[in-house]
Symmetry: C2
Amino acid sequence: MAHIGNGTEYGLHCLLLLARPLAEPASSRDLAELQGISTSFLAKIFPKLERAGIVKASAGIRGGYQLARPAEQITVLDVVDAIEGPKPLFDCQQIRGGCTIFEGKPPAWMTRGVCGIHAVMLRAEKLMRDELARTTIRDLADGVASKAPPGFGMQIENWFADRVNVRSEARLAVVTGPRPRRKADDE
Amino acid sequence: MAHIGNGTEYGLHCLLLLARPLAEPASSRDLAELQGISTSFLAKIFPKLERAGIVKASAGIRGGYQLARPAEQITVLDVVDAIEGPKPLFDCQQIRGGCTIFEGKPPAWMTRGVCGIHAVMLRAEKLMRDELARTTIRDLADGVASKAPPGFGMQIENWFADRVNVRSEARLAVVTGPRPRRKADDE
């Protein structure tokens, strides 16, 4: 499995859709269905983004998610860390101290500082993380917008608005119940 | 689990021990026992290093592994690739083409070029890999040598030589069998 998994990929694509504020918050179900991805998987990702202060949730039939801060203040690294959690590139097992020649008492010269192998991995990880921190959700959204034809953003907005309206009307029908039978119906 | 796992860590530590050529090739069992790591796990790692042309094997009671090329020509990245295999940082699922608005026919503007999210991941991965390619087994071995007291290298060499000798003598005893009973023994 890749170090940065599908959860992060799905999360980033959703945040792209939220970068341009929608008329109403988007539900994770709608975000999943628009993109043809698993609704149950996405439902587990949004609470992680919420805990990290990347999105905020609102409840109710017209509730859903929106960005908790401007898209230019959310980096790809923020999203990776929120969804992947603490996941080092390399997890040093301190092999150097276990050399049998030391008979369980590794000398100070051997265990001083970071192991040379670990140090290389930490340098590589830092460069990787620095690069992920250089790009924001705004940058990514601008990249899509620069390729998209005029009106694509509005098309997306309308799709979400339609979904919210359909859901609200369906809920209203449940609350008010079916049309009552009238005497004329039996005639 | 970390992206770069224990197998690579064990492999790198072993290659460090082989950087200064030993009198005879080292068996993976001896390399494991010297370092207090799993012999069965290490036995699975060395064939990967051999297939990648990093070590070469020799058979027989005094056989084992040695570097297949000079330590300054083996980078940390070579070892990571040999042991981890093809393992991208991020495995793009092409989410962008699945948007339901496109009804299964994503337009050319959407699928042109690399996805912006994938592009960020590829840049981060390249920086990580470039850094891993900058350090060689020679650099790592020099780092240990610069900290170690005089005579440590020789201590390691002697440990391996003792093991080979003990094994050869044990094998000799098996081949020649127990000392034959002589008439005098019964007297």
